[in-house]
């Protein structure tokens, strides 16, 4: 269905090739996932399928891309619209109308479908994607998962045979991502659509994939094949695969169910090492870094936080979990002094953060918001660092030094919005960390990050905690929480429903348990690293 014949591509002013001698064939009716680190050319590969590369981007393409029997040499993207539907990463950016129904009809209006057929296809698409309740809603009022499904619907109405999606779930929380993936799986299984998608969070998509395409980057050739085969050597891998590789399971388990069937022996083997492997984090406990007493936050009639009591301890990473709207962000905002709670009191470093002057506040608590871009106003990374030094009243160069420690090699002349997600997060972190606040607060920091960037984030946060900072982060990413957290706090409907050592809290929850915990339950293991240490300590 999609064929790449010896395709190489170079952007107009780029020094090197972005795609090099790519040959690839994707048969009809497959769900194919493109994996690889940020910046290796995944998006370029996807955009070459419908000719956006090179017709829209410019640049030089060698070789042939054929899709549904048409080559992108002879056909421009608009002539391929009835064969390939392309859905970008941010659905809101691609919407042209205001309401769901209008958006669904827009593509068909442009390719000239008769009104009766148009009406029929809109109805079909609505049923197919299960968006009946949304049809008259304004697009902006939809949640991320709903928007993504509407965006998929909008290209489906042209009845393409191929669907290309660039990281459709990376900005979504787990429930929304599940919605989107289920919708895609249904399209593949019921309609025989061919789906090609790029994705970072492999733990979610692996069970759905028929084939993986690994883009290793750095000029190495691209590898394609069945998931269990590709995953044996892939540089990006979810914890489940890492465990399988560590223990040498064959075939590699792609789902928790597969893994559990093979895991009985492993469970017994490492069970005695349980305590040796997990020394409880002993940190000296002095003054809490922050405390909330009976804090309540209301947005009009909506209770965002009930009456929350919480002490944040120094030298600890505390993870806040809970579904969307459970009060995580409200709690973080209260901690960072962004909003005065309607009830109760917040103390950070002996003062009320809400009444502190701005320059005083940033030396007590640093907040990295969900979209790190909100902190960035400068015209270049260098400019941004200088501004931060100025507003934080620091020695010139402090922020730039911090940035080099957080992530070396961020190009200083680049515009902050042209950085990759990981680089942007690093820059925001550096700005917040430069005044060395004892309390660091992060809201959902792992959106759009690839595995190496997440590893780096984990190391940075652990390092901060070890140096005596208190770190609070809200996240949906259970694998990240398992690796970084000392303590987990679960919120629901504005109340704390569980609070304790991370291991106990997440292992006993079917929702928040990481993959390793699910595989090795009832034993309380959280990460592959722990299992590895345990295995190494077993006397031969």
């Amino acid at each position: 269905m999609i064929r790449f014949d010896d395709v190489s591509f170079r952007y107009a002013e780029a020094p090197g090739l972005t795609l090099e001698a790519v040959s690839l064939e994707i048969p009809e009716g497959e769900l194919c996932v493109v994996i690889g680190e940020t910046g290796t050319g995944k998006s370029t590969l996807l955009r070459a399928v419908n000719g956006l590369v090179p017709h829209f981007s410019g640049g030089t393409l060698a070789g042939t891309v054929t899709v549904g029997g048409r080559t992108t040499r002879q056909h421009r993207p608009r002539e391929l619209a009835d064969v390939v539907g392309y859905v970008g990463q941010n659905p809101l950016a691609s919407f042209v109308t205001e309401r769901v129904e209008d958006e669904l009809a827009y593509t068909m209006e442009n390719i000239g479908v008769a009104p009766a057929a148009m009406r029929r296809r809109v109805e079909d698409t609505i049923d197919l994607l299960g968006i009946q309740d949304l049809r008259t809603r304004p697009l902006r009022s939809l949640s991320g998962g709903q928007q993504q499904r509407v965006a998929i619907g909008a290209v489906l109405t042209a009845s393409p045979r191929v669907l290309v999606l660039d990281e459709p779930t990376s900005a979504l929380d787990p429930a929304a991502a599940e919605e989107v993936l289920n919708a895609l799986a249904r399209l593949v299984h019921d309609l025989g659509l061919t789906v090609l998608m790029a994705e970072h969070r492999l733990e979610r998509v692996l069970p759905f994939a028929d084939r993986l395409v690994l883009v290793p980057g750095a000029g190495a050739p691209l590898v394609a094949g069945p998931p269990e085969h590709i995953m044996r050597t892939a540089t990006v891998a979810p914890p489940l695969i890492e465990l399988g590789r560590l223990v040498g399971w064959d075939p590699l388990p792609l789902t928790v169910r597969d893994a559990r069937r093979q895991a009985a022996a492993l469970r017994d083997r490492i069970a005695p090492m349980r305590h040796a492997a997990t020394p409880p984090a002993q940190v000296e406990r002095d003054e809490p870094a922050a405390s909330l007493r009976g804090v309540g936050v209301l947005y009009g009639p909506v209770v965002a936080l009930g009456a929350v009591d919480l002490e944040i301890r120094t030298g600890e990473v505390t993870v806040l979990m809970g579904r969307n709207g459970s009060g995580k962000s409200s709690l973080l905002t209260a901690l960072a002094g962004g909003r005065k709670p309607n009830r109760g009191s917040v103390r950070v470093g002996g003062g009320d953060p809400h009444t502190m002057r701005a320059h005083e506040l940033i030396t007590h608590v640093g907040l990295v918001p969900q979209d790190p871009g909100l902190l960035l106003y400068g015209e270049s990374v260098e400019d941004e660092c200088q501004r931060a030094d100025h507003t934080s009243r620091l020695e010139p160069g402090t922020t730039a030094d911090t940035l080099r420690r957080v992530l070396p090699g961020v190009p200083t002349d680049r515009h902050p919005r042209d950085l990759s997600e990981g680089q942007r997060l690093a820059l925001a972190l550096a700005i917040v960390l430069a005044p060395v606040p004892p309390l660091l607060v992060l809201d959902e920091p792992t959106r759009g990050l690839d595995y190496p960037s997440k590893d780096r984030l984990v190391r940075i946060l652990r390092g901060l905690a070890d140096r005596g900072h208190a770190v609070v982060l809200a996240t949906h990413d259970v694998e990240l929480a398992a690796r970084v957290a000392d303590r987990a706090v679960v919120l629901a409907d504005g109340e704390i429903i569980s609070d304790g050592p991370a291991r106990e809290v997440v292992c006993h929850s079917p929702v928040f348990a990481p993959q390793i915990a699910k595989v090795l339950a009832p034993e309380e293991w959280l990460t592959v690293g722990e299992v590895q240490e345990a295995l190494e300590e077993i006397p031969a």
């Binding site: 190489s8 107009a12 001698a21 829209f56 410019g58 640049g59 030089t60 070789g63």
Partner: protein, 274 residues
């Protein structure tokens, strides 16, 4: 197999390219436009013979100017205006309209002009010409400013955009100074030119009004007096607003527009090699 780099490093691609035919058409339109604006000064030569048509002549211009603008637009888009340039046109015209609506109604405080000048500076004169015409048209629709004066305003705004896109290269403070000076001059000229089209209709009761058939010198003098007394205050405020906004907001707005221009890749040149 090798993939050659692009033949020449493309330095700066204008958002809308002016071809030879477009340039000729644009020149003709400009000449015609000058006549359309300046006819009161010119008719003296035939005053004796042709006064019969002095009443309906201006209305012919009112009808012809939009046609000409349409022809220029069609010619400019003949090569296919880049989809990204169209999107930018739409967004900037909308911003222009929003600024025009937002102008607080104090005489002459019209903040929208600085945007046209900065955008034309960054995206080139072809884009500036089209943006001037489109932005004026769009904002007239939303502010209820549609009337026989609209084609003249569109043409004048198009010239302002064209001129801003033709200014010599400069960077930094020098550039902002240049643009501010141009902005002030353009704002004055805009008021001057758009007054011209209705001045003959004001009536002949005062010493500032149009005398059909009088010499250019006399009529120009009378027009200057008319312009000074009726709208100079208004025009000066507009010029000052424009220049100050360019000086104050020029740096961030130019930076944002330049980044857009850099990222947009206008007129991508897809190349296929074997």
């Amino acid at each position: 197999m090798t993939v050659p780099a692009s033949p020449a490093k493309r330095r700066h691609v204008p958002a809308i390219r002016l071809g030879h035919r477009s340039a000729i058409l644009l020149t003709l339109t400009t000449i015609f436009g000058l006549v359309a604006f300046g006819w009161p000064l010119l008719i003296h030569q035939h005053a004796g013979a042709n006064t019969a048509h002095s009443g309906d002549a201006p209305w012919i211009f009112v009808a012809l100017v939009p046609l000409l603008i349409a022809i220029v637009m069609a010619e400019l888009s003949e090569g296919g205006i880049d989809a990204k340039a169209i999107a930018l046109l739409g967004i900037l015209a909308a911003c222009f309209s929003a600024l025009r609506i937002a102008s607080p109604g104090i005489d002459g405080f019209e903040p929208e002009w600085f945007l046209l000048i900065l955008a034309a500076r960054v995206f080139g004169r072809g884009f500036g010409f089209v943006l001037g015409a489109v932005a004026l048209f769009a904002s007239a629709l939303v502010t209820g400013g549609v009337g026989p004066w609209l084609p003249f305003q569109m043409l004048a705004a198009a010239w302002i955009g064209f001129g801003a896109g033709s200014l010599p290269p400069a960077r930094g403070l020098a550039e902002r100074g240049l643009l501010a000076a141009y902005g002030a001059a353009a704002a004055l000229a805009y008021g001057f030119l758009t007054n011209f089209w209705f001045w003959p209709f004001v009536g002949s009761s005062t010493s500032y009004s149009f005398i059909p058939g009088a010499s250019v010198g006399i009529n120009l003098h009378r027009f200057l007096l008319f312009d000074l007394t009726t709208s100079m205050g208004f025009d000066l405020t507009r010029a000052a607003t424009c220049a100050i906004l360019i000086l104050v907001l020029g740096r961030p707005v130019l930076a944002a527009l330049r980044r857009t221009s850099r990222r947009a890749v206008f007129e991508p040149v897809p190349q296929f090699v074997d």
